[in-house]
C-alpha cells in the first residue's frame, strides 16, 4: 500500500486521473449529444426549446465544462502519443501542465463567445 501511495504522490498521476475521468465523462456524454442532435429532424420545435434552455448561464458554464473536458483529453492525449511514439522528453510535468492550461484557454474563449 505504501508503494501505491508513493506512486500517486506525483503530478503525472493527477494527469492520468484527469485523462481517465475526462474520457469517461465524454464517452457518457456522447449518446446524449447524438440523441439531442437527432431531434433536429423529428422534433425541430423540441430542439429549439432545448437550445433556448441552453442560453441559461448555468448551462453555458456546463458547456464550458464540456469544452474543457474535450480539450484536456485532446491535449493530454497528444502528450501520451508523443510519450509513446516520439523520442523521450524529460519535460512530462511541464507538458501535462501545458495541456491543462491550453484546455482552460480554449474553454475560456468558448465561454466568452457563448456569453
Amino acid at each position: 500500500m505504501a508503494v501505491g501511495w508513493i506512486s500517486r504522490a506525483h503530478p503525472l498521476w493527477f494527469a492520468f486521473l484527469l485523462h481517465r475521468l475526462s474520457g469517461l465523462a465524454l464517452a457518457l456524454f456522447l449518446p446524449v449529444h447524438f440523441s439531442i442532435l437527432a431531434m433536429a429532424l423529428r422534433h425541430p420545435a423540441r430542439l429549439d426549446g432545448f437550445l433556448q434552455w441552453a442560453q441559461a448561464p448555468a448551462v453555458k458554464l456546463a458547456e464550458f465544462g464540456l469544452v474543457f473536458l474535450l480539450s484536456v483529453h485532446f491535449f493530454g492525449g497528444l502528450r501520451l502519443l508523443a510519450l509513446e511514439f516520439l523520442p523521450w522528453s524529460e519535460r512530462q510535468k511541464t507538458l501535462a501542465l501545458g495541456a491543462v492550461s491550453l484546455a482552460l484557454l480554449l474553454g475560456g474563449v468558448f465561454l466568452l463567445r457563448a456569453w
Partner: protein
C-alpha cells in the same frame, strides 16, 4: 485488458481524431456566437458533403476510441473479463456508431 489490435485501434483512432477534434473545437466556438437555433444549424449542415464526411468519420473514430476506453476502465475498476468484456465493447462500439451516424445523417442529409 488490451491486445495489440485493440491497442493499435485506440492509438490510430486517436491520431485520426487530432485534426477532427481541432476542427470541431473551431466549429463550436465559431457557431456558438449569438446562440443557436435548429434552422441555423440545418442551414449550415444540410446537403454539405464536407460536414457529412467530416462528422461521419469523426463518429466512426470516436465510437472505436470510446468503446475501447470504456473497456479498459471496466476491466481495471470492476475486474470484468472474458466474454462479458468483449460483449460490452462490441455493444458500446456499435451502439455509439449507430447513434452517431444517425445524428450525422439527420443534420447533413439534403
Amino acid at each position: 485488458m488490451l491486445d495489440v489490435r485493440l491497442y493499435l485501434a485506440q492509438r490510430l483512432s486517436a491520431m485520426l481524431m487530432v485534426p477532427l477534434v481541432l476542427g470541431h473545437l473551431v466549429v463550436m466556438t465559431y457557431a456558438i456566437r449569438g446562440g443557436l437555433t435548429t434552422a441555423q444549424i440545418l442551414a449550415r449542415t444540410r446537403g454539405s458533403v464536407f460536414f457529412m464526411l467530416f462528422y461521419g468519420l469523426f463518429a466512426l473514430a470516436v465510437s472505436v476510441h470510446a468503446a475501447i476506453g470504456l473497456r479498459v476502465i471496466l476491466h481495471e475498476t470492476a475486474r470484468v473479463t472474458g466474454v462479458w468484456l468483449t460483449a460490452f465493447t462490441v455493444v458500446a462500439g456499435i451502439g455509439l456508431l449507430l447513434l452517431g451516424e444517425h445524428a450525422v445523417l439527420v443534420v447533413t442529409w439534403p
